[in-house]
Symmetry: C2
């Protein structure tokens, strides 16, 4: 660069600016690459977290299926015949003598059946953690199921409690003095149904957290 | 550019590349500006949609407060004294004679009180639709309240139904034949509580939709 005419002088800053632009571009490219890597990592991390929740969701559904079907079967098979009888009738207690217990069996069977049908959707959210449609569908029906299982449990609990203690004001006798086994079996079923309702509540909150923005 | 030495030849493509880089950068800047405008519009649109949901949330809470407190008060004031009595006792029906109805009053009062306390949080989500913490807090407690109000309604419904129809198998008499007014008032309270539970379910689903990603 011994020649120092105008053109060369003009060209040198041009070259400089080019090189700085290149460096700038390179720097931007590096920064952009860094951002892409960071974003990919964040998405992967988020994906892993969501997948963990989805797997937990699936396991909780399995637990709730067992619990609710056990509740329905336990209540449905509660049937006690006392060893003495008159000419007119046997002393017998069955779940379908009381409408609240009948509702209990039906509601818990429906909730258990829904849970079995929901398993494929739960698996979809494990395979594709970012899917939204299946998640919202499950959330809405789970919310309805909270109400279904907890109403069933509460109605049965009110009746079973009455059977245990009776009510002197309303002149309702405690039938559990005679039908002891029947009352024990139905009480167990009520507890199981409340556990099922609790699992549904956890499922709803988990789904909402996964749907959340951040 | 009459001189065509090596330096000039080298410099021309360098200058060219600079200008193309500049155009490229400008193009990118324009594109970026376009994206920013589009994103801002999308955020504004989303914000408006979220604000609409937040206002609906607030109005539903007001409705639920009225419904649940009406249920609690209606049940709590249910008190009928029959116009005949013996030496030993008056014939009287009150809600606290039956544990299920007592639970009903307490649970509905708690749910109504919670709703009053939740109003400020609901207002926060109207003012700042993108806030997440308040939304999640409301969603979790609303989910618990679904269970609280629906169990209260179901337990009371089971008892009120029994009071209406009685049960011949368990030898429980229908007390509504005597306590007609009492039974009507409690039945109304039960319906109101179920409406409250339904409003909580709608609130939970709405919160989840607002928390959703897209």
């Amino acid at each position: 660069m011994s020649k120092t005419n105008g053109e060369t002088v003009i060209n040198v800053p041009a070259e400089k600016s080019t090189s700085t632009t290149n460096i700038g571009t390179k720097g931007k490219a590096v920064a952009a690459a860094g951002t892409v890597v960071a974003t990919t990592k964040a998405i992967k991390h988020k994906g892993r977290w969501k997948r963990g929740i989805a797997i937990l969701d699936f396991l909780l559904r399995l637990l709730a299926i067992a619990t609710l079907l056990a509740a329905a079967i336990s209540m449905g098979t509660a049937d006690q015949i006392l060893p003495f009888f008159t000419n007119h009738f046997q002393f017998r207690a069955r779940f379908d003598d009381l409408p609240a217990l009948l509702y209990f069996v039906i509601a818990n069977a429906i909730a258990g059946g829904y849970l079995v049908l929901s398993l494929p959707f739960s698996i979809v959210t494990i395979i594709r953690p970012h899917i939204v449609g299946a998640r919202i569908l499950l959330l809405v029906i789970d919310t309805v199921m909270i109400a279904l299982t907890s109403t069933a449990a509460a109605a049965a609990a009110a009746i079973v409690y009455l059977a245990h203690t009776g009510n002197s004001k309303a002149n309702w006798v405690e039938i559990c003095q005679q039908f002891n086994e029947f009352c024990q079996q139905t009480s167990g079923a009520v507890v199981a149904s409340f556990v099922g309702a609790l699992v549904f509540m956890i499922l709803v909150v988990m789904s909402a957290l996964v749907l959340r923005k951040h």
